[in-house]
């Protein structure tokens, strides 16, 4: 673990970031050798103040400060529909700023030092180099609860075919998406630069066999509904300060954001007393479902659903059913139930 805090000496003369000395960013006392005294007033994460990097990287900082990785607004937007006006104010003060927003990414979290998640501290990404990307030491820490481990196959089942082909997060999630474009988006789904399957897999490039299936399901199914390989992590029963439990699952249903399309759904762990410790009851809990459209990062070309129409159209195997809905869940959940058309 100590190696994560070793700075490569050769960088000190070559890299212009070190020109002003360590204390110019980290504060502390460079003139003493005692660890406690040297670390007095230490700023461990200087790029948390965007003005530090903004001295030179003005354009990136100007857009990044409005991006979802920095503001974490997506976390707030996703849940605020369950609150009354008063409850939202309480949520902002007691929960969002203290808990959700603490997860925001500084420049250094992606470019210098791995973020600390659940006590796991890998230290510097590469000897205090300022790296463009290293997904295994950055994205994987914050997004390792779900998508990263699904992507690599560590969660179980098959790895995503894109990972097997040597692609990593930044192969699809480009700098423009991460740094933002200066717009304030409510959700990652609204971001203009977000990746889409059709960006690379152009219409008309599919085989004759799949053309028929693609044609029949156009605008009715997401790509994930057929090409997600299988179970992904679903989290249940989250309570403030206690976390949630998780189980693998694969759920198909109507997309709550586009009710004409069926897609993979992921359970959202918000329950009626999630924020009870903060005195928030969620007066509008039933306004939003407990399942959101998911983009499981475990894609395969061939799955049981692409091999046989029967899996959906006869067996109705994965579609959400009333008896399987979360107990005491939102009344909005039933609207997501859909049954594929029976075929002979």
């Amino acid at each position: 673990m100590y190696k994560g805090f070793v700075v490569e000496r050769g960088l000190l003369e070559k890299d212009p970031h070190f020109g002003e000395g360590c204390a110019s960013c980290h504060q502390g006392d460079e003139g003493v050798m005692d660890k406690e005294k040297a670390h007095g007033g230490l700023v461990r994460r200087p790029s948390n103040d965007l003005k530090i990097c903004g001295q030179c990287h003005t354009e990136a900082v100007d857009t990044y400060k409005k991006s979802l990785h920095y503001t974490t607004h997506g976390l707030r937007e996703g849940v605020k529909g369950r609150f009354s006006g008063e409850e939202l104010k309480a949520f902002d003060g007691k929960v969002f700023e203290k808990s959700c927003n603490s997860c925001h990414a500084s420049c250094g979290d992606c470019h210098v030092k791995s973020p600390i998640v659940s006590g796991v501290n890998l230290g510097l990404i590469n000897g205090h180099r300022f790296v463009k990307k290293d997904e295994g030491k950055t994205c994987s820490l914050c997004h390792g609860g779900r998508v990263y481990t699904e992507f690599t196959g560590e969660y179980g089942g098959n790895a995503d075919v894109h990972y097997q082909k040597g692609m990593m997060c930044a192969s699809c999630h480009k700098k423009e998406e991460m740094h933002g474009d200066g717009s304030v988006y409510a959700s990652r789904r609204d971001v203009k630069q977000k990746p889409a399957c059709l960006n690379c897999h152009k219409p008309g490039s599919d085989s004759d066999q799949s053309k028929a299936a693609h044609g029949k399901h156009k605008d009715k199914l997401s790509c994930y509904a057929c090409h997600s390989a299988g179970s992904y992590r679903n989290c249940y029963n989250c309570h403030l300060g206690e976390g949630a439990k998780s189980e693998p699952g694969f759920i198909l249903g109507l997309n709550p954001r586009d009710m004409k399309t069926a897609t993979t759904l992921r359970v959202i762990p918000t329950v009626r007393n999630t924020f009870k410790k903060a005195g928030i009851k969620m007066e509008k809990f039933d306004a939003l479902p407990n399942y959101w459209d998911a983009a499981p990062h475990n894609i395969r070309k061939r799955t049981d659903r692409t091999r046989s129409c029967d899996v959906c159209h006869k067996e109705n195997k994965y579609f959400l059913k009333k008896e399987a809905l979360i107990k005491d869940g939102s009344k909005a959940n039933e609207k997501l139930i859909s049954q594929p058309q029976k075929i002979n």
């Binding site: 998640v117 779900r146 949630a244």
Partner: protein, 56 residues
């Protein structure tokens, strides 16, 4: 007189050498953080914080 000049030269040499030595001396940060042996002795792994499933 000659002894005086010699003394001045010696003092000047000592002052310059001392100044150059001080200028090249690494800061406390650099001395520790570029030395694996020192870092190994100073960094203490945290206790297992446990925690939830993580985000993402």
């Amino acid at each position: 007189m000659k002894i005086g000049i010699k003394l001045v030269v010696v003092l000047l040499f000592l002052f310059t050498a001392g100044f150059l030595w001080a200028a090249s001396k690494d800061s406390g940060c650099v001395t520790c953080h570029t030395n694996e042996t020192i870092m190994k002795s100073l960094v203490k792994p945290p206790l297992d914080a446990g925690g939830g499933e993580g985000e993402g």
